[in-house]
Amino acid sequence: MSEGAPWDRRDFLGAATLLALCIGVPVATVRLSKLDEDDEPSERVRDMMAEVTELVIPRTDTPGARDVGTGDFVILALAHGLSGTKAPVASGAITPALSSFMRRDGSLRYLPWLERTLDQAANGDFFRRTPAEREDILAKIDAAAMAPGAPWSPWVAIKGLILTGYYTSQAGASQELRYELVPGRFDPDLPLRPGDRAWSSDWTAVEFG
């Protein structure tokens, strides 16, 4: 999605339509209710998500996460509670650093948490850091959250949604990886050559891999 499109505060449908136009989702199939005010992202948060997704999956010889609108997908996904993000956080996992982002129902406001966490790590405005510094900041957050035995972190769900958003986009699924809806046959034993890309259309692998 291009930068700077205004977010419709009253009705998410406007943004959904825009999202649909940008990533090729037929508008008619987008069925969205209004977002809670809670979930309405500021322009800064939209920019932040676009930047964060691009830091995770940058443009290479194939499009990056920003190119395919992954940031807005993550915002949509968090607003609708994908990957359990509207479920109450286990009480044992709520640290002082998380407690100010809790909703009354025990779920977490992921976007404000991420915004604050990035700014704190940046000692100020995340966007005033150089691209290399931003990458370094996010890499540290990622390493801490993904380490074996790490305490619960909201980053794990956000990262998962970034990957979902990117690898289920047309470019992520069919340019970065391979997508074949109708293989037509099954070959049980083939050589795997260096450079062979993974399948986004291997549904069992998507589920269990």
Binding site: A16, G24, V25, P26, T29, R31, L32, S33, L55, V56, I57, T60, L76, A79, H80, G81, L82, S83, G84, T85, K86, D142, A143, M146, V156, K159, G160, L163, T164, G165, Y167, T168, S169, A173, S174, E176, L181, V182, P183, G184, R185, F186, D187, P188, D189, L190, P191, L192, A198, W199, S200, S201, D202, W203, T204, A205, V206, E207, F208, G209
Partner: protein, 565 residues
């Protein structure tokens, strides 16, 4: 109340795996049949709306709207085949409530539409053997089956040939071979594990899943060969897997003797106490609430095990105050569902330079090896079997990996490592305490909801404990490294093999149905879905339901022709 004036020979309640078979067999025998389906119509090919869609063409990329799911599909969303592509083939839980008893955790997965769960089923087709039909008699759980393998073998032949089952003949007495289409292939890792495990455990065989996916087209029936997409539950316009839409319904329609009514919830079977016969059924239109009825000479219940029982309980009358055909008092009792869990998830090193092409729509099976000729189970007397397979990972493994940036992206571009999964399905013992009753709560049409009381017992837990140990041992024999495994069962219902409640048996005092799936108390009433099961074996049950249905239809037609019904 509107009355359908046509006189039908038979009414079939339900249009799924067994309802389709009943309609086909009865119409082909010359009967005029009314099929009543509670859900919407789904036309083969034209109504598979998401079949060709890519994830990027759906608003939630195939994952689905979790907010909507929490509201409308809190149970169905737990099904691993439920997603944004397939959600239209599952019930709205909010509109179709059920109750559970104290201490019961039961996930009831349902598809209320023409074709029922034949659209979304796992397609695994396994014959039972006499180890299964004699199981109740051998250890005293449940009641003895009034039939044996020889009674069903010719009907298995008939069903397999018509629906098309691909599989490999292995000559195992506990899992009899069938009339198979050519087998799908084991992949390179499964083949290697088969050989390595057999070398150490000659009684444990990895064989390809026997699946109702065609490896050879059935052109005469308009069914194409499987395209190895593995998206069956969206609906398949090739007609390559068995569903009522692809197979039995077209055959029944071709006779010109089938009438189908959809959106019609049958709430009652009418019973005439003076004649000791059922006379027809009553239903409510799920959209308009209008009530209708129709009459027939015989009635087949194929609403799905639990709903057929619900219908019989709800058809209590002055003459039969405890439910239709329930003189025995066992209607609703002895329900079962296989206890399942992931026994082993293992990494398989040594195949880093091998891969596959295409999405095979079946996994592997390791047939039962416990409690065959010798009772060798530790704390259990029945069987379990494994299903699963070997696969290579894809991008989703990144959700568990540290890293960001180009190196991370490049890593996820690679085909992932090989893993092997073994899921155990353990036989569920028939127990009187596991039962269905009518709840005091009603649905929006005023029909009593079903209340499910169910818990696995110590025998199932012992079987799953053994399965975890043995899966680990087999993986070690295969050179694989177990990452995790479980021995506690998932919730009841999650095998989607719920069955029993109107069991077959030798006598009317202790069973609902006789050896022909015919009610002891009401000779023109047949129940040929999962409700009729007296034990559960550990195989996927649908093939057996279909064979029993075809057999019951043959019997019913002969009895009708002889003037005895």
């Amino acid at each position: 109340m509107a009355e359908v004036s046509t006189q039908f020979d038979a009414i079939v309640v339900g249009s799924g795996i067994t309802g389709g078979w009943a309609a086909k067999e009865l119409t082909e025998a010359g009967l005029k049949v009314l099929m009543i389906e509670r859900g919407r119509n789904i036309d083969h090919q034209v109504d598979y709306a998401t079949e060709q869609k890519a994830p990027w063409e759906l608003p939630f990329r195939g994952v689905g709207d979790a907010e909507q799911y929490a509201r409308d599909y809190p149970v169905q969303m737990l099904n691993r085949h439920f997603n944004e592509f397939t959600q239209g083939h599952f019930v709205n839980d909010r509109e179709n409530p059920y109750q559970t008893g104290q201490g019961t955790a039961f996930d009831w997965f349902r598809g209320y539409q023409l074709g029922g769960r034949s659209l979304t089923w796992g397609r695994q087709c396994y014959r039972w053997s006499d180890y299964d039909f004699e199981g109740n008699k051998r250890d005293g759980h449940g009641t003895d089956w009034p039939i044996r393998y020889a009674d069903l073998a010719p009907w298995y032949d008939k069903v397999e040939e018509f629906i098309g089952v691909s599989g490999a003949a292995e000559g195992l007495p506990q899992l009899p071979d069938g009339r198979f289409q050519p087998a799908m292939a084991l992949n390179v890792v499964e083949q290697a594990l088969r050989e390595r495990i057999l070398a150490q455990y000659p009684d444990r065989l990895i064989t390809i899943g026997r699946t109702a996916n065609l490896t050879q087209a059935k052109e005469g029936e308009g069914r194409g060969a499987c395209q190895n997409r593995n998206i069956c539950a969206r609906g398949c316009s090739y007609g390559a897997y068995f569903s009522a839409q692809s197979s039995t319904l077209p055959a029944a329609m071709k006779t010109g003797r089938l009438t189908v009514v959809t959106d019609a919830i049958v709430e009652r079977v009418d019973y005439d106490a003076t004649q000791r016969r059922v006379t027809g059924v009553r239903w409510v239109d799920r959209n308009t609430g209008e009530r209708s009825s129709a009459s027939s000479r015989i009635v087949f219940l194929n609403a799905g095990a639990f709903n057929s029982v619900q219908l019989m309980l709800n058809s209590a009358s002055e003459a039969m105050p405890n439910g239709l055909a329930n003189a025995s008092g066992v209607l609703g009792t002895h329900i079962m569902d296989h206890a399942n869990t992931i026994s082993a998830l293992a990494m398989v090193p040594g195949f880093e330079d091998r891969t596959t092409y295409g999405n095979r729509p079946t996994g592997i099976v390791v047939p039962r090896f416990r409690n065959l000729d010798q009772l060798d189970g530790d704390g259990f007397t029945r069987g379990y079997s494994f299903q699963g397979g070997a696969l290579q990972g894809t991008w989703t493994r990144g959700k568990r990996m540290a890293g960001i940036g180009q190196g991370f992206k490049d890593e996820l571009q690679k085909v992932g490592p090989w893993t092997m999964v073994l899921v155990a399905f353990a036989e569920s013992l028939p127990r009187a305490r596991n039962r269905l009753v009518l709840s005091k709560q009603t649905d929006r049409h005023g029909i009593p909801q079903l209340e499910i009381h169910f818990a696995h017992g110590k025998e199932e837990l012992a079987a799953l404990a053994d399965a975890k140990r043995e899966a680990g041992a087999m993986m070690a024999a295969g050179g694989a490294q177990v990452i995790m495994g479980f021995d506690q069962p998932n919730n009841g219902g999650t095998s989607i093999h719920e069955m029993g409640g109107a069991r077959m048996g030798h006598d009317r005092g202790s069973s609902v149905l006789n050896r022909w799936s015919q009610a002891h108390d009401v000779p023109n009433l047949f129940v040929t879905d999962g409700a009729q099961m007296s034990s559960s074996a550990c195989q996927n049950p649908s093939l057996t339901y279909m064979a029993l249905t075809a057999r019951a239809c043959d019997y019913a037609v002969r009895e009708l022709q002889a003037g005895r019904l």
